[in-house]
Subunit: 327 residues, 2 copies
């Protein structure tokens, strides 16, 4: 296979087992979440852990900062790891940390995670006043250094404004169309259009709360959703961002949801009766299952070039254009 297979979001309980499954699944690059609610120092500790894994498993994984690094990784038979944050907490209140964290490898940063942040509004807030004063400054700085604005967990107005304010394409790394499954986290058509019409990307999520019929979602339904999205937004702006949280204990989904911002339980997309991670659909349980999606896309009528794009080449082209300094 000469084209690249890329998953633009995972947050697994990383292990040698999972890294080997990435190789078995021929996954050439994975955008991994380094921070949910972590501050700068805690984020650096997470990077230190990744540095240890790069030292321990040099035949399986390597750190990628550019599209070229992804191509090299594929040539070497390794999976390229790309760092990202689901929240702007790593930059704290300090715009200078945008460049510092980019230097350390960060390539995606969400402007908000479910709640209001210093920069933008999250998708669970009642009110969305749009991009803040600091948010405008930080988008400009992210554009300058090549840190991609990710609005996966942001609210509608904030997302549309971010797409408009940003001088470079932005991304929704992991979500699905609201028209297919009306979860708060899924994106309405005008939001997806605002992102994709200027070269931005949406990565489709396999997280059951984002799927029609949740864990019982069929491969065909998922792939037909991708086909419908291609009709509306263009196949060149679509990719995968599986949101795979493999092997995580349920304590982690609680951390993702409540961080340190509340003393009460917040069930997010779950509920009191189903507070943990939902079971994955049986056709996508780990990195070895990307072939199922590839086959499913063929089954709903995509041609070879479109499938190569959705399975990774579209993300790779996006990385090439958006991970470096602004020209």
């Amino acid at each position: 296979m000469s084209t690249h297979r890329i998953d633009c979001l995972q947050y697994a309980n990383w292990s040698e087992k999972i890294f080997r499954q990435m190789r078995e699944g021929a996954v050439d690059a994975v955008h991994v979440t380094i921070a949910y609610h972590e501050n700068f120092r805690e984020t650096v500790l997470n990077m230190e852990q990744w540095n240890r894994w790069f030292e321990q498993y040099p035949d399986l994984i390597c750190h990628a900062r550019t599209g070229a690094d992804v191509r090299l990784a594929k040539q070497d038979g390794r999976t390229a790891i790309i760092f990202g944050f689901q929240n702007p907490s790593p930059i704290e209140d300090d715009i200078g940390l945008v460049e510092i964290l980019h230097t350390l490898g960060a390539r995606f940063m969400q402007l908000s995670y479910n709640n209001q942040s210093l920069l933008a509004t999250g998708c669970y807030e009642v009110e969305d006043p749009g991009i803040t004063r600091m948010g405008k400054q930080v988008i400009k700085e992210m554009n300058r250094v090549g840190l991609v604005v990710d609005m996966s967990h942001s609210a509608d107005r904030s997302t549309i404004e971010a797409a408009d304010i940003s001088e470079r394409p932005i991304a929704i790394t992991h979500a699905n169309p609201h028209s297919w499954h009306p979860a708060l986290r899924n994106k309405k058509d005008d939001v997806i259009r605002a992102v994709t019409q200027n070269g931005g990307m949406i990565g489709f999520s396999l997280y059951p709360h984002h799927l029609k019929d949740k864990s019982a979602c069929t491969l065909e339904s998922f792939c037909q959703m991708v086909a419908d999205a291609a009709d509306r937004f263009g196949a060149a702006n679509l990719g995968i961002g599986s949101d795979l949280c493999q092997d995580q204990p349920d304590s982690v989904v609680e951390w993702m949801r409540v961080g340190r911002w509340t003393k009460e339980i917040d069930y997010g997309e779950g509920s009191a009766s189903a507070p943990g991670f939902p079971p994955m659909p049986d056709w996508f349980t780990d990195n070895r299952d990307f072939g199922n999606i590839q086959s499913g896309l063929a089954h709903v009528g995509f041609d070879e070039g479109e499938i190569a794009g959705i399975m990774g080449e579209n993300w790779l082209r996006f990385f090439d254009a958006n991970f470096g300094r602004m020209e």
Copy 2:
């Protein structure tokens, strides 16, 4: 001039004026101190300040991570800035920060600054028990990533042990021979020999407390000291590390000496009657005066190749060999 002029230590009160003087003095690279007693976060703040200066003065300075970057800077007519620490405080108690800080550009780190550190002993301690358990681990990690061990402010035994333990050459970036001027900070011959005999470097200091006759030291005396050192240690292992602290208020020398480790005043190399920065010798007051040293070296009998080496080519060769990952 096709050879490179390099100063392997300055800690000025940086400004556009000083950056312009670097260009006037044809200084191709400067190793700048980023931290004395700063912890990790404070060190990152200092790097952020440098990032601002790189943005503000792109025609004068640029950030260098390799010898190749120094050559490019010279071609562009800019001064290459290399980051270093005078203390291991930026890594706190966390060996993982060695690689993180190297990724952010750090290329020299002193294992101790005057006092005992977690890694080694400083030159003002009464007892020097040598390199600590953590010190041995950190030297190994510094060797791995390409962060140079600098022992300028360390005690004798610790320095000799560091030279022995390190698998790569180490440096004394700024000090002079004790035999010429017996300051506690200057280095005895066996210490210099331990460093230079395996490819290490010593950079000669212009800081008056390190000079014979201090501020009244003559250019000829300084250059004759260099000639004597070349006889004993080889001209190829010598360079300049001026320790220029231009435009700093006296509050800064107090910070350098006392940091946060004492509530009492410690005068270091100064005294109660002369607590501030001493005046520089009149033949070396700022970056425009490197030509005086170059002329002085010719006057005491060095040949053209030796002068080129001492003025920068020796440091450049050392950077090429020691700033990258261990092969």
